[in-house]
Amino acid sequence: MKLKHLLVTATCTALLAATAQAEGVKVGMITTLSGGGAGLGIDVRDGFMLAVEQAGRSDLEVVIEDDQRKPDVAVQLADKMIQSEKVDVLTGIIWSNLAMAVVPATVAQNKFYLSPNAGPSALAGKGCHKNYFNVAWQNDNLHEAAGAYANTAGLGNSFILAPNYPAGKDALTGYKRFYEGALAGELYTKLGQTDYASEIAQIRASGADSVYFFLPGGMGISFLKQYADSGLDLPVVGPAFSFDQGILQAVGAAALGVRNTSQWSKDIDNATNAAFVESFAAKYGRLPSLYASQGFDTANLLISAMDKADVADQDAFRAALQAADFASTRGDFAFGPNNHPIQDIYVREVIQEGDVFTNKIISVGLEDRGDAYAADCKM
């Protein structure tokens, strides 16, 4: 491939600049800690650092920087981490657009990147790279599970909506990949939109039997509150992003009973998860979210590779990562050929436990799901 050729050129340049690595592993975490969406970054960081602390290793150093959710700042920080801090591994990015800005250049410079959250399709298919590991999910996964769930739940006329940007389009594509019923309507809303009266009116008029939406962050909160207020009582399905622990309390009772898909839930029954939930709550005084679990798993994956290989030996370290020989909060966890997870995606329901709104697993949406792009990946 000619593209590869370009990459090789870049790699050589970077290699010349690189100096001999010291003992141990230095990790650069670039994540969103200020401004809008800071909650997600804080959860990833806290989950990651909890695992690091529990491992108690002196040969693992973590440098954390705030990307302010700005792609150009993230790129600067990646440069800083690689050039000045001389890190071996980068991680932490929450948003797909920031990942698209940072990941290709990072792996081209022979660094490892472990994604604790974003999984854009471009990096799973043609743009995959042997040094890029996704420890969360490919962006489509939760939506695919929702589509599959709709089939088993007997929903045959969905109204689907997402913001008008790439992740939104991927989401609806993912849903439709497994969903077999008819579409009552398909809408793209403005990114950052906060009022959904118009969309809800269209849902009401469409004759749909269910609603699937992907509206991350504040958009989802607004949608759910307004949906509950509209008196519509069609079943709603969404991905876990709008129902995670940080957001649920702001949505309140409006979310009760909503089915959502997630690769993690705090009631997944394994010892690692139970210990994680307990120690996270004890340390930070709040329940962990799926982002926190992803941060925690990412750190444990890294630590498991450190036990097996020296990071200076790239091939051995890569093989150790690929083996994914760690106890995941999700139970079974393995990497596919494109270094993306193969894992179960659950269907959860929002419930109330005392004063706190949280989720409970009701079924498995997709079992051992990889992703749709692995075939395009030539490593």
Binding site: P71, A105, P166, K169
Partner: protein
């Protein structure tokens, strides 16, 4: 040598010495950081032409910054995927050469500025501020939904574009290119400020009636200044995209317009080298305050507020005193 030109020399020397020292000490990130300041300075110098010399408070310059970025992104994207930009009526190929990309970025953003300016200059005052903001937002939302070039995800370019005889992936060499562009732009704007056009434009800002009374039409001067201003900011955008090897709609957000404006005001409105000082200080603040606290925006806000309230004329007003009339 006036105090202002002394300050100019110190400033440009500082921007040169810092990365060289960083190069010697093998601190490439400092070089990258300085490069960022230099590119922001170019964008600010561009805006300053409209804002400082013409009195045109544009709240939409991010559109030109982003347009320059996308000109680079699109050309390089087509070059790296080996797909032509256009098949019909004739084939246009992408390119990875800065010497081709820059003129395209300049012309594209200059033409956009000409069109936006021609419409916006029918208004004045607050209305002008707001209509430029509106055009900026239009471009912003357009790029977000422009799925052919990545939409909100933006476009990644794997390797920096090429410049004859230099290795652009080497931070110090890429810095040299940007610094060279800044010097050229500053020299150009300096000449322009002292040329017939500059004399008339700055007179129009001070007193439109006066300019008309000597037989000249302010609108034409404003529009020309706005177009040149947009073109320079567009060039900065192309460099910025190359620095990051990435372009996305965030370059076109209204916060970016605000930031470019901050560089100009922080440095000193209407001083040719003002935005250079402003951008350098801004990057310095961002870097040092960012390390102090996750809530560093509070401090940044307080400093900006202090500059507006107590240091009128920005850094240059503070250090170089009242603007010296040049003749």
């Amino acid at each position: 040598m006036t105090r202002e030109s002394f300050l100019n020399a110190v400033l440009m020397g500082f921007l040169l010495v810092v990365p060289l020292a960083a190069w010697a000490l093998d601190e490439p990130f400092i070089i990258t950081l300085t490069t960022r300041a230099v590119i922001f300075a170019i964008a600010g110098v561009g805006l300053n032409l409209a804002l400082g010399f013409g009195g045109l408070v544009s709240f939409g310059h991010a559109a030109f910054f982003g347009l320059g970025g996308y000109a680079m992104g699109i050309l390089a994207y087509h070059a790296q995927t080996y797909t032509p930009l256009m098949d019909w009526p004739f084939v246009i190929e992408g390119t990875k050469s800065m010497l081709v990309i820059w003129p395209v970025a300049i012309v594209a953003s200059g033409l956009a500025a000409l069109a936006i300016g021609a419409l916006s200059l029918r208004t004045s005052g607050v209305y002008f501020i707001m209509i430029t903001l509106a055009f900026g937002q239009m471009f912003f939302y357009f790029t977000i939904s422009w799925s052919a070039y990545g939409g909100e995800d933006g476009l990644s370019i794997y390797v920096r574009n090429s410049f004859p005889g230099l290795n652009t992936m080497d931070p110090i060499q890429f810095f040299a290119i940007c610094y060279g562009v800044l010097v050229l732009v500053l020299a150009g704007v300096q000449r322009l400020a002292h040329a017939s056009f500059g004399l008339a434009l700055r007179a129009a800002r001070q007193n439109e009636e006066r300019l008309q009374a000597v037989g000249q039409v302010p609108y034409r001067l404003y529009l020309t200044a706005f177009a040149i201003s947009g073109a320079i900011t567009g060039l900065a955008g192309a460099l910025f995209a190359d620095l990051n090897r990435f372009v996305s709609p965030s370059m076109l957000s209204w916060q970016t317009s605000g930031e470019i404006m901050v560089f100009v005001i922080l440095g000193g409105v209407g001083r040719v080298y003002g935005p250079v000082a402003g951008a350098a200080l801004f990057i310095l603040l961002e870097h040092t305050l960012g390390g102090l606290s996750p809530y560093w925006h509070v401090y940044l806000g307080a400093i900006l507020l202090g500059v507006v309230l107590f240091a009128r004329g920005g850094i240059f007003g503070l250090l170089a005193g009242r603007e010296v009339a040049h003749d």
